[in-house]
Symmetry: C2
Subunit: 411 residues, 2 copies
């Protein structure tokens, strides 16, 4: 019998009515002959409320106690959902992370899953139960409650699907699936039927939300098909899987725009081994996450080193760099916080030429000047003036026909 894991986020279980709706969906999957495991998040704004409660008694609460506190949110949801299923005449049992031995390391508030006692759940499934598991939480070797950090419930769901060898992990959310680009920026964007883990990872790292990178990495590692779909209807959403042959024909799957970036350029750094490492170690120490890096030699002695960071990290980054500038011989620091980064992602780039050319053409058509360019194997990004961002994205989407399903594009 096939196992399906269904994950419901906080907005999909925010009140009694929504919990009943999610439970009904699980029941249908069960009635269709599947074994069903539900993973649920805390209801609506419950976690925020608990964090506020904590800050009232301690502005800097110990992480272990924070996990002990906020893990109650999911525990409440799963017991309520088991009750809802019971009211429908369906056998159901809820589990906390501790109860299914979702063992993690002891890095409270950002723990990583090490193992899951799948046998325990399997036993209940075999007895005809729907199992409801608290997402986002685990337990360390000594029995302390841990939580998995941002996107944690998705990670719980995909990890459970992997441990149970599930046919699919369904992620129910408040959008219909993954779109070719943000429909708020390009209203003609269409939902993708299918996308590869690698593309989804790139999109996630470019801030194209919906799912957090870690859960996708898990899916990729353990080969779990992930189906991102709406909790409000029965439409198929977007299926995330390993790359399949037909994907190779798709040059560009999606496009993104990020505006909350800043670009820092260190001009005239001494071109010596280890200097770049020194700069980035310094930034890491200041907990600044660095995105794309560009280094160019400007002479035999000097190089320019540029990179992008989140705009919110700018003050920290500048402070950190002040401490290292002299050491690496940097002549001047140049900061831009008026930029947008336009990216296109597609596995087809691996085997096809011309994508970069087409992208630059799109930007030229829109009369947008390019500040800098970075690429990965399946991504090309351009930095442009923030004021040109919207028209640049629109032009790129039109040139790559992101308003059409992948199989109807003409290029």
């Amino acid at each position: 019998m096939a196992i399906i894991v269904q994950k419901f986020g906080g907005t999909s279980v925010a009140d009694a009515q929504k919990i009943v709706r999610a439970a009904t969906r699980a029941l249908h999957a069960h009635q269709q002959g599947n074994q069903v495991v539900v993973v649920a998040s805390a209801r609506g704004k419950q976690t925020d409320q608990l964090i506020a409660d904590a800050l009232e008694v301690n502005p800097n609460p110990p992480r272990r106690e924070m996990d002990q506190l906020i893990s109650t949110g999911e525990q409440q949801t799963v017991s309520l959902m088991a009750m809802a299923l019971d009211a429908m005449g369906q056998k159901a049992i809820s589990f906390t992370g501790a109860q299914i031995r979702m063992v993690t390391d002891d890095a409270h508030t950002r723990a990583r899953i090490q193992s899951i006692d799948a046998a325990r759940i399997q036993q209940w499934l075999d007895e005809g139960y729907i199992a409801i598991v608290a997402g986002f939480q685990g337990v360390d070797e000594r029995g302390n409650v841990t939580t998995l950090g941002r996107g944690g419930s998705d990670t719980s769901a995909v990890a459970l699907a992997a441990a149970l060898n599930a046919r699919v992990c369904e992620i129910y959310t408040d959008v219909d699936g993954i779109y070719t680009t943000d429909p708020r920026k390009f209203p003609k964007a269409v939902k993708m039927e299918h996308i590869s883990y690698d593309e989804m990872l790139e999109l996630a790292s470019l801030g194209a939300g919906v799912m957090h990178g870690r859960s996708i990495e898990f899916g990729k590692k353990y080969d779990v098909p992930i189906h991102v779909r709406s909790s409000m209807n029965d439409n198929p959403g977007t299926l995330i899987t390993h790359e399949v042959a037909q994907m190779e024909g798709i040059l560009v799957s999606g496009a993104t725009m990020q505006k909350e970036l800043a670009k820092i350029s260190l001009v005239g750094v001494d071109n010596k081994p280890g200097n770049a490492a020194r700069v980035f170690a310094h930034l890491a120490q200041a907990r600044v996450i660095v995105n794309d890096i560009i280094q160019t030699e400007v002479s035999t002695e000097k190089a320019n080193l540029s990179f992008t960071i989140a705009k919110g990290d700018l003050t920290d980054a500048k402070k950190a760099l002040d401490g290292i500038r002299k050491e690496v011989g940097c002549e001047s620091l140049f900061v831009r916080d008026d930029i947008a980064e336009i990216s296109v992602v597609g596995v087809g780039m691996r085997s096809h030429y011309g994508v970069a050319g087409k992208l630059f053409e799109a930007l030229a058509q829109a009369k947008v000047n390019i500040d800098s360019i970075t690429t990965s194997e399946i991504r090309i990004s351009c930095i442009v003036d923030i004021g040109h961002g919207d028209k640049a994205l629109t032009s790129v989407c039109e040139v790559f026909e992101l308003d059409k399903p992948a199989d109807q594009r003409t290029y």
Copy 2:
């Protein structure tokens, strides 16, 4: 180093300010050189809210899931209290029932404690931590969360005190201690300094609240001194211990009045072995709890069987009795729901005569007629007309001088 267990009920931890106050009290006890274990209930009306949430999705929720749900209330309190202590610079760690292996049977919503892993807590105490334990909850052998039913947090606290061989278990509540009688009925009532487990058990069974019978039984069994005191001030409260010599001189420790009773009389029951057992088995099946029973032979063939029950159980009881009346040959059923039961309790009754006479004298003085009388080793109860209840209690309190501390009474 002496161990003190401090238990704080829901009203004593209802908000951030009260949690901080309770934490401060624990800190003081720690600073005075004690090892401190705190047992806490869910905040204020939290449990009621969770029960309401449950009933919204299932009018008859499965008990296992109910326990899974409502146990989150105490988990939230204990983590918040650990955070509050951390903010004061005091090392503190919170535990759920599962985390300290508070193992119970699997009778969900009314489980009984079987064992506690005291060594785990002792280890943290020895490292200078204050341990905060979620009251009311445990875990069965298979890892399911259980709850202990009414008064459960008190039972957790006393059981922990027993397991840790604590010097005292302090029960912090919203009253100053145990009074000679309900001050709302007899304003001159005084706080008792000292009372025996047996007396407290009688008072608890007579509805004189403050503490639930089970926790007192635990205290008696494992010889844990229980100190009931106010969470609002530092006044000494009432100490509940084993009987000590000086208590023998106290003929009457306290008096109670219960008005929420009904009395049922089965008139003319066949006087055969097993008939009374049949009646009470039938009532037990209908989940009706029977208090005092009086049986009197009225002839060689017939007996009258009377007993009191909670008024709220009257409909269930009458229904149950309708099914058994014929079988036991009962001639008629006589019900009174207009009664009050006045009781006096005192270990001194064991070795002193005259208490009953003095009680009847008090009622006669107040011109109160007695419907029936029952006694235990340390208690005498009279049923009177409900309209005479208040003046009967007042007269009894005055005759036994319950407005004076025990050592100042003149009888």
